[in-house]
């Protein structure tokens, strides 16, 4: 058994830059499309020539072993990596027709259209209300206090948190439980009314019950939003997504319908990963 894994290790650490993505990276109704993306941290290349479409109202899961570049790829989709000086990005990112990395593209406007939820719940050290109201406030989405109240309520309802917090909107957001905090962060993101929501391992810091709630939420959210989710849990990917992308050492190895990936993967690396032979 042991020796077998070792054999596999040598096989999977071989140069993957020549590998071609198998499956179908394209979508008929693409909300976001990325083409020939290369990402470098200083001289180290983190993403090798990745192309991927995210269809409208689709949930796309990105899976792969740690350090495979899936989070980097996700963060490039709303230019969160701009804050990292050493990060260099090549390739074509499009949100519908708009070039995300076009010099004239305003990053603030982009992030209003492409929201992000992070791995660790990170509510602002402010009240629950202010947490949700912050986005609409900075973008000037609410004309009056009543409008803002409505946005906050609707967002909290969509995030399935309204019933739990409606009586304590002025309580600090940091005082909620981990799962509630993460749903607060989701509410905060949808309050801005984005078209796409990026989720970077949103459940990795949560217990199974909170995870179940968030997964349920994702299914509802996908009716209105396009979702790209990075996850370490293959079960989660299988449960929530319509398509799954498997990343390996900065390469996109395989993209297919989720069912197909988990039942009959095309690529041997995908199969090795989902059957738990490494990861």
């Amino acid at each position: 058994m042991k020796t077998k894994i070792n054999e596999n290790d040598t096989q999977i650490t071989q140069d993957v830059s020549t590998l071609q993505t198998v499956g179908n990276v394209f979508s008929d109704n693409a909300k976001m499309s990325m083409r020939n993306v290369n990402v470098f941290y200083d001289d180290k290349q983190a993403i090798h020539d990745v192309s991927l479409d995210i269809g409208k109202n689709e949930v796309v899961a990105m899976i792969g072993p740690s350090g495979c570049g899936k989070s980097t790829f996700l963060r490039c989709m709303n230019r969160m990596n701009d804050t990292i000086d050493s990060c260099r990005i090549e390739g074509d990112f499009r949100l519908e027709k708009d070039d995300i990395y076009h010099p004239k593209q305003d990053v603030v406007a982009l992030r209003a259209r492409v929201g992000i939820v992070f791995q660790k719940p990170n509510p602002f050290p402010k009240s629950i209300y202010d947490n949700v109201a912050y986005g609409p406030k900075v973008h000037g989405l609410a004309a009056s206090k009543t409008d803002l109240d409505e946005i906050v309520e609707v967002s909290l309802r969509k995030a399935g948190l309204w019933a739990e917090v409606k009586d304590r909107l002025t309580a600090p957001g940091t005082g909620l439980s981990g799962g509630q905090q993460q749903r607060l962060c989701i509410a905060r993101t949808i309050a801005v009314g984005p078209e796409v929501i990026l989720m970077d391992e949103p459940c990795s810091a949560l217990d199974p019950i909170a995870t179940a709630k968030i997964e349920e939420l994702m299914a509802e959210l996908s009716q209105n939003f396009t979702i790209a989710i990075v996850t370490h849990s293959m079960q989660q990917a299988a449960r929530v997504s319509q398509r799954t992308a498997y990343f390996h050492m900065g390469k996109l190895i395989e993209v297919n319908d989720t069912k197909r990936v988990f039942t009959n993967p095309e690529h041997e690396l995908t199969e090795a990963y989902i059957t738990g032979r490494f990861g």
Partner: protein, 438 residues
Amino acid sequence: MKNESIQNKDGAAKPSTIDLVNKNLAKRYRAEKRFKAYGVAAILFGLACLVILFTDIIGKGHSAFLQTYVYVEVNYDADALDISNVNDPQQLAIADYSAIVKSALREQFTDAKSRKQRRNLYGLVSNGASFTLRESLENNPALLNQTVGLWLLADDDIDTYYKSRGDNKDDAFVGRLNPQQVAWVETWIDQKQIKKRFNTTFFTSGDSREPEQAGIMGAMAGSLFTLLVTIALSFPIGVAAAVYLEEYAPKNKITDFIEVNINNLAAVPSIIFGLLGLAIFIGYFEMHRSIPLVGGLVLSLMTLPTIIISSRAAIKSVPSSIRDAALGLGASKMQVILHHVLPLAMPGMLTGAIIGFAQALGETAPLLMIGMVAFIVDIPGGVSDPATALPVQIFLWSDSPERAFVERTSAAIMVLLAFLITMNTAAIWLRKRLERRW
């Protein structure tokens, strides 16, 4: 697994792991106790020094809060005062009040015959007594040509004598008093014509060559104005510099160079800043000497590195998850800084600023260079009036030969400490309030 293999190799003689652990356990606990004891000893040493310092200062300085007054029955004799119209303020202002004090003293102590003896007699009452007389006559013109008993400020030699005397005459510090003067004072004491009152002069007047008339108010006002200038300049500039360096500045040779220089400036002796202030603010910009504005500018320069360094540390300690959250929602960089980073960093920045301001408040050397060491009697009314500062006042008084300045020096130290404690308490309260916003 590993343990087993070792034991197998060396045989059963090898003691078990738990025995080895137990053997060392006592030694480890002893070491731990010693380690803790070092800390306790350090704290006790610090506390002991503090207690000694405070006992010494309070022991020496508490008497300065009381001042000796003597009861003299003076006759507001219109001729002696040279007042023809009591409602004329000018006449009241230039009237010779010391003359009626002198005549009152002559009347009580008839044994003062020679000029020299009389001069000694007049010396028992402070020449500041004139102001008391003038004030009471101004408030009540009907007193003219009346005889009134008044408590007048005693001379500092009498003050020192009376305070050191206690119950036993022989313990008293005589100093410059001659035996005849001592006898006069003893007469007052016997007739209960002398007493100690709370020393309001000390808190309401400026500096004086006469200890009994010297007060701390001028220095306090000077320190306050200097500090206000320092706070108004160094905090905003320091925070702005820290925000730029931490959030916007590219990481390159120039920013490295700036950073190294800021760190070096924090360690530069403060007198150098004084020289700089002298050369630039007074020499080049031709600002006035001895004014709190220049003092504040110099102290700002001195405080800036401290504030920048601590502000940068505070900004750095704001978790990146909060920045990411705000950026991810589409907040601009400025919004992230103003709405999230600064509020969260504020308590830390304030802590550094408080340390800087406390340091500035206690600073003497740079102020000497820009002339805030001058003898200034008037209480400054603004940042451009000549002034001195509390630590400089302490320095000046400690240099004075009069015995009565010893207690005033200690009292001034107490006032400076109280000033510091008040300021720090206010700042800590402010910090707590900001922290409470989660």
